[in-house]
Symmetry: D2
Subunit: 337 residues, 4 copies
């Protein structure tokens, strides 16, 4: 049994992690922390039967677990990662603290980094791309919810040199849980229901530099994104509509082949056949990332549509998948494929 601790367990990703571990035959949850709800049972916080009692963060027995999951805000997470590693626990950080390998970029988009010396040892936790490094890593930077779909779709195409130009347009749409459990005017039911809106358009959302870092790494040359997230009136799921130019010699079958070659052995990446487009329903409540393709109406112009559940493959599911890899377990344990 892998002993796990969850820090910041009362948020949505914490709830999702707990739900995954309830179904996971090789995990034992040693502790779960919450600053707000310490002392309460989990079943008093969420409508569920989990009876674990939340403890205060400072009482977390970091030395008693094999791995700590950090569902804490950026900034706080980095310090907790440092403490957990010092106590001998491996770390999966679901915040943004170790996603950007370039310190200056982190500080431009976030804030001063509390523990910059840890950045070099963090592995970007996109399992399908970095599985080998993840297996041996002590510190995983779990990807942001928006990047995973576009990155999995574009990696094989960039590697094959098929993508042209220097800019990709990602029109993304996310469910509200991506905004977190904190009540705000933005997440009030009456603000979201029957509504739909864009936010942080163009190049202002923090996941833009994260996507660009990875695209650039895969391609070996700089890539830029125009990235417009939108807020959907659903609780879960991200659908990304990606406008991309490919080498005009590539036909639809070649793109699908590239994806099949890359992912047919992957349990959680599903490639749809020609004529089908990914929908939220393909992925919600599962750890799937679904890829699909359509012609855009002119030679070399394509539309890629990807779908995943932001709380699962976009957060807690990916974190559990990484843990499975880190501890040599069946990668699908606890997860719906």
């Amino acid at each position: 049994m892998v002993k796990v601790g969850i820090l910041g367990a009362a948020g949505y990703t914490g709830f999702e992690l707990l739900s995954i571990f309830e179904r996971h035959s090789e995990v034992e949850v040693t502790f779960a922390t919450s600053g707000t709800y310490a002392g309460q049972r989990y079943s008093d916080v969420y409508p569920c039967p989990y009876d674990i009692t939340l403890i205060a963060p400072k009482e977390a027995p970091l030395g008693d677990v094999d791995v700590a999951f950090l569902c804490t805000p950026h900034g706080a997470s980095a310090r907790l990662a440092q403490q957990a590693l010092a106590a001998g626990a491996r770390c999966v950080d679901l915040s943004a603290d170790f996603r950007l390998r370039d310190l200056a970029t982190y500080q431009e988009w976030y804030a001063a980094h509390p523990v910059p010396e840890l950045i070099p040892q963090a592995v970007y936790g996109l399992t399908e791309i970095y599985r080998d490094q993840i297996a041996g890593a002590d510190l995983i930077a779990n990807p942001g919810c928006y990047p995973t779909g576009p990155l999995l779709a574009l990696h094989p195409l960039l590697k094959a040199g098929a993508v042209q130009g220097e800019r990709i347009i990602i029109d993304a749409k996310s469910g509200v849980s991506g905004a977190g459990a904190k009540p705000t005017t933005t997440t009030h039911f009456c603000s979201v229901h029957d509504n739909f809106s864009a936010y942080k358009p163009g190049h202002t959302h923090r996941h833009a530099p994260e996507i660009e870092q990875e695209l650039t790494a895969y391609a070996g040359q700089p890539w830029r994104v125009v990235f417009t997230p939108h807020l959907l009136p659903v609780s879960r799921g991200i659908l990304s509509t990606i406008y991309v130019s490919l080498d005009p010699a590539w036909e639809q079958a070649q793109v699908l082949d590239a994806w099949h070659n890359a992912y047919d052995a992957e349990p959680f990446v599903h490639v749809l056949p020609e004529g089908q487009l990914a929908t939220l329903a393909h992925s919600v409540n599962t750890n799937r990332c679904v890829l699909s393709l359509a012609p855009a109406g002119a030679p070399g112009e394509w539309i890629i549509v990807t779908s995943l559940d932001n709380l699962v493959k976009g957060a807690a599911g990916a974190a559990a998948q990484n843990m499975n890899v880190m501890f040599g377990l069946d990668e699908t344990l606890g997860l719906v494929s």
Copy 2:
């Protein structure tokens, strides 16, 4: 032109009032206050084109308006009513401060009343029942959102002596706007969407004594309610399913006749024919209250279903309707019938 002021204009009922007055040919909005958003234009607070600038409550020129609408919390409203009346403005109070005619009952369910001496002059603003008193009143206690449907349905039946027993069960379901614009865990999109829940069941919601006060007044004898409100994953609307015993001699046609006699001349009360049941869609975004009836399966047992929009006929629409009556205007101005 009637000059109006809106106190507490940045809540949902304030927004609804402003929207009604935008369409109202005989109203001029002189001021609108907000403690939180003072100095901002209304179009910066809500997605709308209303360019009025919100002012701080203490700067409200109460003496410049013919009528003040109080969209403020109970307790605060009573004091503002006192100030507005002193400044020469008539008042429509959308809070609960003057709904309960019995001071002790108010203090049991709410708190100490700040201005008890005003209670006797307030008129309960259920227009269809108290129209004559409303016309001449300076202080209107606008009804709670839940009571209006059951009261309009039961008034003609109680007056006719048709209702039997001493207790009525009201199973009510409301949209989220009834909980107000303040963000809380309860009103977070992810708490409400795909969910449905009962709250304050039995005899614990503050609208229970309000309903009982009115039923008792109509019947001339004490009536008790079992009242269970529920939270629907919609923004607007209240549907009440009411379980009632009638004199077994009454048939369906008689009940419908009693309603038609009472309401056929009313612009905002609609009686559905036998075989149709009220739905939210019958009333949402209008000032309608819709009444319908079905047999419950045994002699004398009936199910009444009523529907209205909690922000319109259940709040701002009723308030505007009362204002129309108070100032001798066409009762339907600004309202959808």
Copy 3:
């Protein structure tokens, strides 16, 4: 491995069964039929990765399976049950054909029964009440989605003689999947979204006699229900608000004790503590039935609130649970408890 066949697999309960069996370690799906989609892969019908090819009903190899699940309409199900039993397969019928033990009642509420001689050997598949008979049965009548919550809540109280009167009011609210996958004006998105409505009120819905049959059996005396189903703008879940009179000597703790005694050993029945009420979120996407209680405001008057997922504990989950019992498997296999 238990070999199963699913007849009528392209409806919502068929999809749910397939999803359960995907996660079930001891089940092999031998065939799945659909009149409409025969020849297509399941992944062409629903947004999912299940690659089983649907076959025409008449090609179903009934003799090759250990158990057949009938997700077919009433009338058709009875005949298929007969064929399946003749071919040596045990049967779980998710239609209404064998729920009513009294033939006349069936014919009053449904139609002429195609195979009345099978009725006596069917066991009503409410696992928690009839587990012993289910274990040895060849033909299970899976309960209707609405009855399960009220029946599980009332069984221990009726057995204890605590329920008074002769009539119970059940105000029930269901998600749209309960109406089936067939597109109709009633199930059109724009008819349901932002709406809420009652239907078949009082004593006109076919689940009323089913509930009455069971209550009467548990109590040993006739019970009547007033039953008003409503349509919620959600896909899944049933919440029932039940108004019941109990022996005034019973206090809240006694009712909760009765439930705990009956269900603490049950994996799928959860009793909430005093002060908490069941919500849809407690049960959706799980096989849980959640029970809760509140006082109604007068001695002996109580409100019971129950919640379950109509497609899981209200249909496919209960069917799988029954199958687990019938084949001596761990009762929780494939199910979320």
Copy 4:
């Protein structure tokens, strides 16, 4: 009073037209037809109080009305337009039959045109652009729901020569009412709720050539669009996210100025200030089209976000606005601005 007839009145645009005319002081609805519901009152078809009785299409007294609104399918509409014009009624056609001025394009995207000789006399009913021709026209081709937002946003910029390149990407998201009232698997509540999907991507939706026709006309040179519509889990509203390249010399203020110059005198086009983006909530249930702008992160690259209600400014509201122009009425009568 303008006498109007509505053909195909039982669809969603017919319902919206009737609702508009209920509030319109200068319109009298002479007849409303429905093949399916002929003989029924409107209040039996939709949850509303409109008591007009629907008549069969062939009984429509076309000669008794000043204007006929065609809410009928393409193909059928063209023939009805011919009959109505012959009977002396002017026509507003809400179908696609007269939107495309090029017959070959119509036949490529739709079918053989039943009355091609009428095409030249039809005026494209985008009021803000073609108001003068609309005033004198007998046959109006009401625009498709998707084109209106992008066309109003781009017209002033194309006229000013500010738009660069030859291709514009329009990522559009629509509520379900755009798919019509006919029940299908696609419009089933459970297919749409909690889901989000793209359909007819790239250059396969019939509104693509309609948009291109207009852009090309405004610019005086060919324009191409990549157009990806998506289905939102809401009943009403279209939000379009438009990726466009402008002359790098243009700054944000210039674009906003161009819009203000074009539209400040227009009652139904609203330009949002810098920093605000259009949302569905800005326009739903009104006849507004809302325009907004954000930089895309590189010189000359911009994101335009437009919003409107597909049933109002995208269909029935625009049709009523056109009628107001045709008959010399106040353009805002019956409409929310």
